[in-house]
């Protein structure tokens, strides 16, 4: 008997990156810092996902773990899988990782002032990345580096100049050119605009957006600025004390905010149309990463905390298709 074949056609967006249960700790002389505590994250091909959180939440650690460029003493990856294009890169050898870094996964760092080698010419630093991953002549690498410079809006006559001869915004463009030079499939942008003026910020973001569309790159954008997230991100993951407490599309997070922490973040933003006399920050500080509390890590600061929040850590609940929250208020058993 042939039943009616129901052919379901949905857009299967490929996942370019899947992080499963990542745990990273830093071992110092004084104590052990629990930086990342069981993070699960998926990045779809071609999407920009924002990783939002306060300083010290563990966002940079997550990004550096993907590329495996953590300082290994004192950092140590205690567990988890990172599946990139169907392969677990935690299992790869250093040699294999080097073929991936800069080539298939690239990173942009926060401080453009210190991200470039001060005694090497800017063009060379880009060409070096190109020449490393492509079997081409030096002249060809230089030519492509010039193209990259033009692509980020820097005249290629400046190829032979040194980093200190550029302004902050232009340095960041060089860093972006360097990262995108080999056309990576995944770009990790660690607070790329935090150190820049607001006007330059807008320019750089716009440039990143257009490049991303042109090259089809997936982006993990780390930031603590919700405004930037609103402008550029398709999905958002909210990070707190080494965990992802809320994840969903930008619409989910902005219009249907569920986790008390995320709600607190939005409430603490100054609003132009409000007449409130004082700002509303989230009370308290992030917990000491060397001494994380039992139970939910946001419990102490949460205005909606219940008794069970201090006892157990909540599980993840899917409050809407694709919208995940880690809180007892919405389920979490």
């Amino acid at each position: 008997m042939i039943r009616g074949l129901r052919i379901e056609v949905h857009e299967v967006a490929e996942n370019i990156l899947e992080i499963k249960d990542l745990v990273v700790k830093y071992h110092t002389d004084d104590a052990v810092i629990h930086a990342v505590n069981g993070v699960n994250l998926t990045v779809k091909k071609g999407e920009t996902i924002g990783l939002v959180g306060e300083t010290g939440a563990g966002k940079t650690t997550i990004a550096r773990s993907i590329l495996r460029i953590l300082q290994t003493p004192p950092a140590k990856i205690w567990g988890g899988e990172i599946i990139f294009k169907d392969e677990d890169i935690m299992q790869k050898t250093e040699k294999e990782m080097r073929k991936i870094r800069g080539n298939q996964i690239a990173m942009i760092f926060q401080d453009p002032m210190t991200a470039l080698n001060p005694i090497e010419r800017v063009g060379f630093q880009i060409a070096e990345a190109i020449g490393l991953h492509n079997k081409i002549s030096r002249a060809e690498a230089e030519r492509r580096a010039c193209d990259m410079l033009e692509m980020v809006g820097i005249p290629m006559e400046r190829y032979n100049e040194y980093p200190h001869q550029f302004s902050g915004g232009m340095k960041q463009r060089v860093v972006i050119a360097m990262a995108l030079a080999c056309n990576p499939e995944l770009l990790l942008a660690d607070e790329p605009t935090t150190a820049l003026d607001v006007t330059i910020q807008a320019q750089v973001l716009e440039m990143m957006q257009s490049l991303k569309e042109k090259l089809g790159t997936s982006v993990i954008l780390i930031t603590h600025d919700l405004g930037v997230v609103a402008q550029t991100c398709d999905s958002v993951a909210v990070v707190y004390a080494g965990e992802i407490v809320e994840y969903g599309t930008a619409e989910h997070i902005f219009d249907h905010t569920a986790h008390p922490y995320t709600i607190g973040l939005f409430n603490s933003l100054p609003k132009l149309d409000s007449t409130e006399p004082r700002l509303k920050p989230i009370k308290g500080l992030m917990p000491d990463p060397t001494n994380l509390p039992k139970g939910c890590s946001f419990c102490e600061r949460c205005p909606e905390a219940m008794e069970k929040c201090a006892e157990k850590s909540p599980g993840v609940t899917e409050v809407a298709p694709g919208h995940f929250v880690k809180c007892f208020l919405v389920g979490g058993e």
């Binding site: 110092t28 002389d29 500080l285 000491d288 001494n291 994380l292 509390p293 102490e300």
Partner: protein, 286 residues
């Protein structure tokens, strides 16, 4: 329930960090031991340092003379013990003199700036154009060989280092934002100097001072070695090495003991200085 981190005071925090560095702690004990030997030398030494017994010259270690005797029959052990006085004096006194003078000059230059700074820096330039050891030797020769003059010579030759260090520290701290912040809440100049500038400028000076003591001890030994420092019959390690030089063929180990003493003392000060530097500068910690 996580607690906020406890606030630690500067001095005790430094001590706590220093304690972690075993080498530095050992060095501290060694230095204290050397100092005690110097203070209690007459009680510790079996013989006076200048008692000669030519009949028993150049003897190897024996029951009477635990480390043997030198060319005039003097007990080497006793001379080593008394030698701590000379070396510590040359080391510590010379360095402290240099540090005090240098810090004052550097502080004046750094704080007032302008033509005062310019003038002092030009003078320091002239000063520093003469290689340090050459200056030391010249001064020692010119003033006349003696312990006191060696101390002065070494001290004078070390002044520019401290002056520039102090000046640089003050210039850096002056420009730091927390000084601006203090000014903006109307803190008085004196308070700024006392609470911000001095503590931050002092740390590198202390490190430099400790390391320089090692250098001074060596310079002093060097001066005595060529005859321009401590004069006979005073016991000094460098002079003892010089004495032993002519007898090295037959008595190879004669020069060994004083050299080892110098090395241990200088090493201790260097290790302590290293440890202090690591403990005082949080940025250098991993």
């Amino acid at each position: 329930m996580s607690k906020p981190a406890k606030k630690k005071s500067g001095l005790s925090e430094t001590w706590r960090q220093l304690k972690k560095n075993k080498a530095a702690v050992v060095s501290l004990f060694i230095i204290i031991a050397v100092a005690l030997v110097a203070i209690f030398a007459p009680f510790l030494a079996p013989y006076p340092y200048d008692e000669q017994n030519t009949k028993r010259a150049l003897e190897p270690p024996s029951e009477d003379y635990l480390l043997g005797t030198d060319r005039l029959g003097r007990d080497i052990l006793s001379r080593l013990i008394y030698g701590t006085r000379q070396s510590l004096q040359m080391g510590v006194v010379a360095t402290v003199i240099a540090a005090v003078v240098g810090v004052i000059i550097g502080a004046v230059a750094g704080y007032y700036g302008g033509w005062v700074d310019n003038l002092l820096m030009r003078l320091l330039d002239i000063y520093q154009s003469i290689p340090m050891f050459l200056l030391c030797v010249t001064l020692a020769a010119v003033l006349g060989p003696s312990l006191r003059n060696a101390v002065i010579a070494i001290g004078i030759s070390m002044v520019p280092g401290f002056a520039r260090l102090m000046r640089a520290s003050i210039l850096t701290v002056r420009e730091m934002e927390y000084v601006e912040a203090a000014k903006s809440i109307n803190a008085s100049n004196a308070r700024i100097i006392y609470k911000h500038i001095i503590p931050n400028a002092i740390a590198p000076t202390i490190v430099s001072l400790t390391m320089s003591i090692g250098g001074s001890v060596m310079a002093g030994a060097g001066l005595s070695f060529i005859g321009l420092g401590v004069q006979p019959p005073m016991a000094e390690w460098g002079a003892m090495i010089s004495d032993a030089r002519n007898y090295m063929r037959a008595h190879g180990t004669l020069a060994l003991y004083p050299g080892i003493c110098i090395m241990i003392t200088v090493l201790a000060f260097n290790l302590l200085g290293d440890g202090l530097r690591d403990a005082l500068d949080p940025r250098l910690k991993n």
